[in-house]
Symmetry: none
Subunit: 467 residues, 2 copies
Amino acid sequence: MDMLSCHLNRDAEISLYEQLYIYIKNEITEGRLAYGSKLPSKRKLAEYLSISQNTVETAYDQLIAEGYVESLPRKGYFVMASGDLEYVQPSDAKPTTDPQEEKHREINFNFHPSWVDTENFPFTQWRKYAKNTIDKQNHKLLLLGDAQGEFELRQEISHYLYHARGIQCSPEDIIVGAGVEILLQQLLLLFDRDTMYGVEDPGYHLILRLLKSYPNEVYPLEVDEEGIQVEPIEKANPNVVYVTPSHHFPYGTVLSVNRRAQLLNWASEEETRYIIEDDYDSEFRYTGKTIPALKSMDPAGKVIYLGSFSKSLIPSLRISYMVLPRPLLQKYKTELGFYHSSVSRIDQHILAQFMREGDFERHLNRMRKIYRRKLEKITELLKPYEKTVSIIGERSGLHIVLAVKNGLREDELVQRAAGAGIKVYPLSAYSLGKNYENPPKIILGFAGIPEDKMETSVTTLLKSWQN
Amino acid sequence: MDMLSCHLNRDAEISLYEQLYIYIKNEITEGRLAYGSKLPSKRKLAEYLSISQNTVETAYDQLIAEGYVESLPRKGYFVMASGDLEYVQPSDAKPTTDPQEEKHREINFNFHPSWVDTENFPFTQWRKYAKNTIDKQNHKLLLLGDAQGEFELRQEISHYLYHARGIQCSPEDIIVGAGVEILLQQLLLLFDRDTMYGVEDPGYHLILRLLKSYPNEVYPLEVDEEGIQVEPIEKANPNVVYVTPSHHFPYGTVLSVNRRAQLLNWASEEETRYIIEDDYDSEFRYTGKTIPALKSMDPAGKVIYLGSFSKSLIPSLRISYMVLPRPLLQKYKTELGFYHSSVSRIDQHILAQFMREGDFERHLNRMRKIYRRKLEKITELLKPYEKTVSIIGERSGLHIVLAVKNGLREDELVQRAAGAGIKVYPLSAYSLGKNYENPPKIILGFAGIPEDKMETSVTTLLKSWQN
């Protein structure tokens, strides 16, 4: 056993023990100290280097903890690793700017259907509830909470669902999650592996893509002016059907009362059949009464209700929820109860307070007016172009669909808009691969366009489509 | 049009306008003021009630803002809502207390390994960053952000990983998600459907259960004093192995350098092989330096790194992240890029600020001291019982494992503790079905026990185990 000729620098920024540890580690990884060789005893090395035994011990302990060295009682310290372990630095270059920023630089107006009006969000109220919640007296909130979500929030959601959507459910039927995708992924685990799905086509593309990333069969189901057709469902025979009955995405159709009854009857015929109702923007109906949820007509418990605060509040909050029929709830508790909630408890309590104090209702009433004005404005602005551009869809929600009959193809319409700094979305992106041509159709989410920019954005868009 | 017979109380705590607003709102929701009926003019109502016109105007404005009333120029004020909006309490019997609370009522001390010290969380700092972030000037944060997570947060994480864990990665390699379960579910979608998994057994039970809920084969892999064994991996031949190299859960073993090299070699032999490194509590090492991450020794890109703020900050925040090797990252972008981020953008920016301003580092340094004191205390308190109770595990992390040789079975130990108001967790709950008896083992997470309760809780526990 040789002594270790380590040169220690008492004036260095790193401690003596660390210098010794690095020295020995390098000796091992660079092959100068071979596997199995014995290290000097603590006492001898301390003497040799004129340092304390404690310093040597700390260095040895670290080497032992990392597995470089082994301590054998009454025998000493031995090298446990061989020299081919060298630490290599990957030479990756790092991007210095956010690539997302880059991508959006040239867009002046974005008609994305997921966008909401951000300028009228009640920041003051939200900040107040955040301040109330982030408080030492709530320190227990830092620990993991109920996997289904905070009871206080689920209670507010159940009140809201009863009051606004006619749905009777108790807080224990509700599962809160970080977005509809997350909830849907959990839901899919509750169905049999060979479950076949039916989806509205065109429909909410995220759900279509999510289902397609699973091995299950997915049937596209056509939509007419009464909503989804039920006869094709009976023929294709999926087990689970995904629908947006209050306001079809993207066409805006309301599922008629007759179709609702047919759909519920279809589901009640087999135990494994279920309907997933995605009620993504029912809050925004500008004339007459709101459309009751399909779930409110479902005493047999065949409807899984999906709700979200993405449209009614803000999408980046990532709070959604589902109401499970009791047999699925039972299965969820048994099989998936070990999953932790995917939403911050603090955020759940902020939202619960916001609802409890009436701010959510006030916000909805206020936004309903703002969005109605925006829709009226866009309809008015489109009037001069009505020969070539017609609006499809109920007068509700946060988006419309334009059928454009000026001879341009869908991709040309999108490209020309992009050339004018405007981002619009083609209907084909929301279908299961089919192309919806003749006339081509474009989805316009109008919620994110400020009122004073409505005119510029719409006229610029329409001009980009003229020859 | 009748006049409104509202009795206003000038001595009430709520203002006159608010009394008037509530009165009219109730008249509408309870059906006494019908849809379309005209309200008195501001002047007339003010005269009739002997209040100022301003007060009436404020009440009307509120009703207009909430959508109950409409103002038509030169015509007057009209009721816009019908009486079936009445807010009715669902008739379901509801639990009046949180059932979670109920369950925990009789527990005085909980040694759950996921618990952290909540009393020393820097509420003031966190509240400050929340206040900064929830601000109208950040209104763009309300829209959906980058699916991989906010660039600012990923940048902070990449700095942290480089300095604290020796990992070189760029922000674009990082995906932020609402918990390790959520990230793991996404990750599983990137592997072939017939992928076989190897997991440490015993191990992190959540991962074991999650993998078992998929149809794939899952192999339990034994752990000895050097960590996971590599020969059994070569025999069982899984494609993907899940490990906790810095601090095995729950035994606390550090994967030795030799085993690390073997494991990396094994992975590099086939393109489909990957190692998932869960680095759940590496921040808390109380002697010497931290153990470098396995990922830091991985120039070949075979290690998927999972990190979390659950231990280092708080579990209920639900922010975790993974670092993907480039081929998987590419696949993620192509196949799963449509998923929205599962974490609130506001929360991501609060955390990014917390890290950027040095608060995270300060918090870790502070908590390391507190947790070390707690570990020293518990070790000391257990000394008198060393004949029957021995501690297993490295001196690090937020939990220890006790091997109890007093003749009681594992379930008896748990039950006796429960009888004394103490919740402890059996090792068998963290295994793939095997029972670890002789001697039975109990996991004690000590982080959540306040320092001044350490003595009472540990001695009560140990007394409950005596005959």
